[in-house]
Symmetry: C2
Subunit: 417 residues, 2 copies
């Protein structure tokens, strides 16, 4: 059997499973999720052993420390997966909810009802816990899921998926509700994203190269969880102490994540006051600063920022700094170089706040708060499958509700047109 | 300048316009729409003359009567475009609406706010009134639009677009809020659907070949307004008179549209009673019937239905008929051969209704009503840009609300993480 036939087989099994999942009660789905949590707990030793194979192979292949870190399943991370399953079980099931309901003059009752999307493909890189997190979120929303993990984590993903599938089977989960693509053939991803009629949505989770490859080949819808080039704009009216606290938090609290700040924009009127205080704190935190000419006039110690810096996601203790003449200039910079993720204004002026929130075209726009809050947990969603930088279907943190769509159920009494 | 550069130019201008459109008040947008209506009214003679060129060219090229009909701008159709503009002006503006709002324990106020999608590309075939309808809907929702009509209607589309653009300019519409791709080069469509970073959404409106070509080439999101293979299932518990009325209406009232019935499924227990009455009425209406073996046992006059019939959108007074053993067999047939558009059950049994509405995976599912109601106007949306057969972002009739997305605006008081 060729790869194409194999992938069509996986798609077809997922489609069948998705139709059975529509019939699963919330209680049954929760029972399955809790059984999965117990099963992971019981198989800790085997999971650690499988993960050790991946980690050793990665070490032998000379992969970067960052990848090694994402790959490793420490006891704490295994705990995290187990508690994640239990948390998802405890969340509200959005499937079946009535979104709206109205009656037409001819008596037709129209009910807009929340339903699963159907079959979801998840393509991810080195972090094996994505296997468990995404399978749990898809199951809770009655979606069948096809998982494709990175080749570095092949042993870890296999044992995690097997453990979930076996636990699910014990509690009556539809066969093929969760499938893992096990072939090493890299063409499998191209096949997956072209499974029209079987796969309803693909979510790539990983670096820019992965997302680009998926988008270019896809014939099914893709929601991109893209890079975060997040900005903080310090307006002329800003409270300086608040601006310093927010900017330092956005850059330093966890620089390696997508909602950390990469570029600081400062109004020229406040730059001479704000920048010296901020720069001292930032440098104390270990941040390397790169500035445009105007900001380097205030802080000559900064390196020179190039055009490339404005569109670079450092994911590191690095920051580009630019002085702007107005809030509109800040907005234009963000809309040009940003990634539509999270951007903040620090300002005491309602007029400037309004311009910023209305005109910045990003999923989340903050007034007087750190961009670091863009997160399903911080938003109160309980769990997240990622943060969409797309504009269709879902924007920003995606939780359970964003893994659903709707249908119209229309009740009549024999009406004809 | 090559085609690629030309298309990037159009995309870039549209993006600029979309950012100005965000700032347009509802009042201003409505003033522009009313000015456009007046302008079309004043230029009726020129519009008819331009349309005559297209119609004559189509006649000379020997195009089908169906295309000729869709192409012609009769005085009634011009009236329709004018009243359409006025109706869109009168509709509620969804942009800026607060979808939901909550406050987190840390005091952050999260506002989920409705915003325009940005830049929308519309690719359509012969009907020139799509130029006006879609431009109006996009303008009302503050989206910039790039129009690409069929080559048969090139003169009609040009004068309609020019009239709208000139009228808009008189009332301060952002330059390039509405653009028409005027090159005859067919590659322009491929370029348009690959304008990542400029175009946020493409909606192809036309036949299956067009939609397939767009989907295969697209790198930007596409919402498909696909064919309608709609079913009516007559359950064993159906009220026979109601079932006949609904099935006749769904097939005969306007057979050439996407929400008309193409396949009738009949429970075996009711077939001997229902089919003779229905078949007589249908044949009186001029319907050609094709049935499976079981239905031909009841009505031997029917032609033989082949496997191909089940997935054919006739758009004509033709109907395929199949006898099924249960509601689940009907559901399986619909999910296998249907196009996720509109499907109806006629049944007095709540159990059968529930199985049908829960398990049929279509945008609109009817109980005891005709599928012909799937329409923005019939749903009370006022206007529609089409009917989505996709599952993401929007399903079923798409009105103004479906041409928007959302952003999170978050108000803080200096919160950090």
């Amino acid at each position: 059997m060729g790869l194409h036939e194999e992938m069509v087989g996986i798609g077809s099994c997922a489609l069948d499973a998705s139709r059975e999942l529509v019939l699963c009660s919330t209680r049954k789905k929760n029972t399955i999720l809790l059984e999965m949590a117990d099963a992971l707990d019981e198989r800790r030793v085997d999971i650690a052993e499988a993960n050790r194979l991946d980690v050793e192979a990665a070490k032998a292949a000379g992969l970067s420390p960052a990848i090694m870190d994402r790959l490793a399943l420490t006891p704490t991370r295994i705990d995290g997966m187990i508690s994640g399953l239990r948390e998802v079980a405890a969340l509200m099931d959005p499937v079946g909810e009535t979104i709206s309901r109205w009656i037409r003059p001819n008596g037709l009752e129209i009910i807009k009802q929340r339903v699963p999307i159907g079959v979801i493909g998840i393509i991810y890189e080195s972090r094996p816990n994505v296997t468990v997190d995404t399978a749990a979120l898809c199951l809770k929303t009655s979606n069948a899921v096809i998982l494709r993990g990175g080749k570095e984590s092949v042993h870890s993903n296999a044992i995690l998926a097997d453990t979930l599938i076996e636990a699910g089977r014990r509690k009556g989960m539809p066969e093929h509700a969760i499938q893992l693509i096990r072939t090493a053939d890299r063409e499998a991803v191209r096949e997956l994203v072209q499974l029209e009629g079987y796969v309803d949505l693909v979510i790539p989770r990983g670096g820019e190269a992965l997302i680009r490859a998926v988008t270019e080949n896809a014939r099914v819808p893709v929601i991109k969880h893209y890079k975060g080039i997040c900005h903080t704009y310090v307006d002329e009216s800003a409270d300086v102490a608040m601006a310093v606290a927010i900017a330092i938090n956005a850059k330093c609290q966890r620089p390696g994540v997508c909602n950390a700040m990469e570029t600081l924009l400062v109004h020229e009127a406040i730059a001479p006051v704000f920048l010296p205080i901020f720069a001292k704190r930032a440098i104390d935190c270990g941040v390397i600063l790169r500035g445009d000419a105007a900001s380097r006039e205030v802080i000559p110690a900064m390196q020179v920022a190039t055009e490339e810096d404005w569109s670079t996601e450092y994911l590191d203790l690095r920051l580009s700094v630019r002085v702007v003449g107005s809030v509109r200039e800040a907005v234009a910079h963000i809309n040009k170089y940003g990634s539509r993720h999270s951007d903040a204004i620090v300002s005491e002026s309602e007029a400037a706040q309004k311009i910023f929130t209305q005109e910045v075209d990003s999923a989340t726009v903050y007034v007087n708060a750190s961009t670091r809050f863009t997160d399903g947990g911080e938003f109160g969603m309980g769990a997240e499958i990622g943060i969409s930088t797309d504009k269709l279907h879902a924007r920003g943190p995606m939780g359970l509700e964003e893994l659903t769509t709707y249908k119209y159920v229309i009740q009549g009494k024999g009406q004809v047109r």
